[in-house]
Amino acid sequence: MTATTAARRPQSGALTRTVAMFIKEFVQLRRDRLTFATMIFIPVVQLLLFGYAINTNPRHLPTAVLMHEENDVTRSILTAVDNTGYFRLTKVARSEAEMDHWLRSGTVLFGIEVPVGFERSLRRGDKPALLIVADATDPMAAGSALGALDGILQTALAGNRGLPELAAQPAAFEIRQHRRYNPAGVTSLNIVPGLLGTILTMTMLIFTALSVTREVERGTMESLLAMPIEPLEIMIGKIAPYIVIGFIQATLIIGLGVAMFGVPVLGSITLLAALSTLFIAANLSIGYTFSTIAQNQLQAIQMSFMFFLPNILLSGFMFPFAGMPQWAQWLGEALPLTHYIRIVRGIMLKGATLADLQGEALALLGLMLLAMTLAVRRFRRTLD
């Protein structure tokens, strides 16, 4: 009899069963607090965070000056440069070598060099040149700032009462721009090194983020905890295989980058390999830490994703790092990808050495050790 009823009204049965599924899913969803939190957290926090942090027209970019002479004229020019709002004079170099080091390490994005005899040439009407070296690895970051420089030709000396004869005259000097590392502004030269870090971040995080929760979900953790094995041993044993996998991935991406996109590797390939390994290990440790905090695999994936988003947006991969407000830059400094992107761009495009990159390398090491310490401490040694 039930069969005939069902046959007569097949749709109502389908609806009831669909509703049954709907209710069950909803109840399960509601029970998972972290999932519930991410539903609120992801849109609100991420929107506010990135809405305020991202700026595609970056201003106040760190700039170094190398003054071969210092006088009223050069000071006026520097003030004018500062007044464009695009440059922030953060360093005074004593030699060209020092300025190059800062550019290679990414400490500054621009270097302004005032040549010897600038004022004399100016007064003679020889149109001396002011040299501006830009780190053009990220064409977006350097572009608008360089564009704004033309304006200062007119205004730099206008207000200078000591030079009335020059003030009236437009363009008493010229600005020689040097887009270093990526003179043609090829986007792929910037994107490929960034992608290397981004791809590694995503894959490495997920690998280890699932590793502890998987043991818990499958019930193997109970046995594992009853065995004489230490949390540190478990962690290292779980991370190590993925270092090899990450290394293969990195080799593949760099190889394709060189072969297909013509990205150079100007610096030491050994250094690149060593620091890439460090970066891979740092991300694996962070993923592992998520794994010890999350209660199930879904939560672990959600945490990885929440961590991955700022890595893409605040690391300087998609948007210029120096263009972000200070608080966002601090956040960015806490992400391994930020440091790795500087390392990869430094070694591949700028020929940077370990001396140029030691700050970034130490930051990666620090982040890795922090994550590992947290993971070992968070690891539940009992089922309490």
Partner: protein, 314 residues
Amino acid sequence: MPAARPANGTVAVEVEGLSKAFGDKVVVHNLSMRVLRGQIYGFLGPNGSGKTTTLRMVCGLLTPDGGRGTALGYDILTERDKIKRHVGYMTQRFSLYQDLTIQENLEFVARVYCLPEPERQAAAAIERLGLAGREKQLAGTLSGGWKQRLALGACILPKPELLLLDEPTAGVDPKARREFWNEIHKLAAEGMTVLVSTHYMDEAERCHEIAYIAYGELLAQGTIPEVIAQSNLKTYTVSGPDLQSLADKLTGIPGVDMVAPFGTSLHVAGRDAGKLDAALADFRKRPELSFSDSAPTLEDVFIDLMSRSRDNFQ
């Protein structure tokens, strides 16, 4: 087997006043027990009675909220690392790696315990388990009975002195259960101490000593004759027609503490023989019913213990 194993008869596990609560739910309350070396000690009780929690506290997987205890002479609160090296714990749920082969699982265990020649040890264990030729089979594809045997094999691979088995035969067919118990007896004869939880009565009778635990409290312990004697139950076996309605009538009469159907007869028991006889006096006059004196079975005792403790618990 290590030569320096302490003699049978010395204490293997001793706990006193063990308590554990999860949130505000007390799971184990003031539990004390003592297991001698070389014994098979059965842990009986209904579901949710605290058997698993107690086993986990003994092997260091859970921290007791109160009480103290030792396993193999090591403190269960402070010397967990040492306990883990000498205790094998077989979980209720199959907890080997389903996506590893039999050989790989055993090798993993051998390596974690730093056994020499893990490949050879694993191969030898496979031979002992009767799984030769199936080394490369994934553990997840084994049948329930074989999974249990493999889990036991993995547990005893490092030659633990104490074996904790949490309902090892749940869902296993009778033949596999019997083989499993034969194996346990062989291990005990070799000097291993076995603490095993179960709710099968026939398995209780295979243990040297048993403890009955319900609602977190240990209600009785000792050998089976001791436990039966301790209960002081007076039991009658009643046979006749329409026993179900008789059972309904008897239940709740003062002096009748337990009424339970057993096949075609009814077990009626009371803690006070005099009161029981008084209560049954009218029924004994009925000609269609035949009453016979019988010794209480272990099950009678347990059902009685359970009904008593439920009163305290609620």
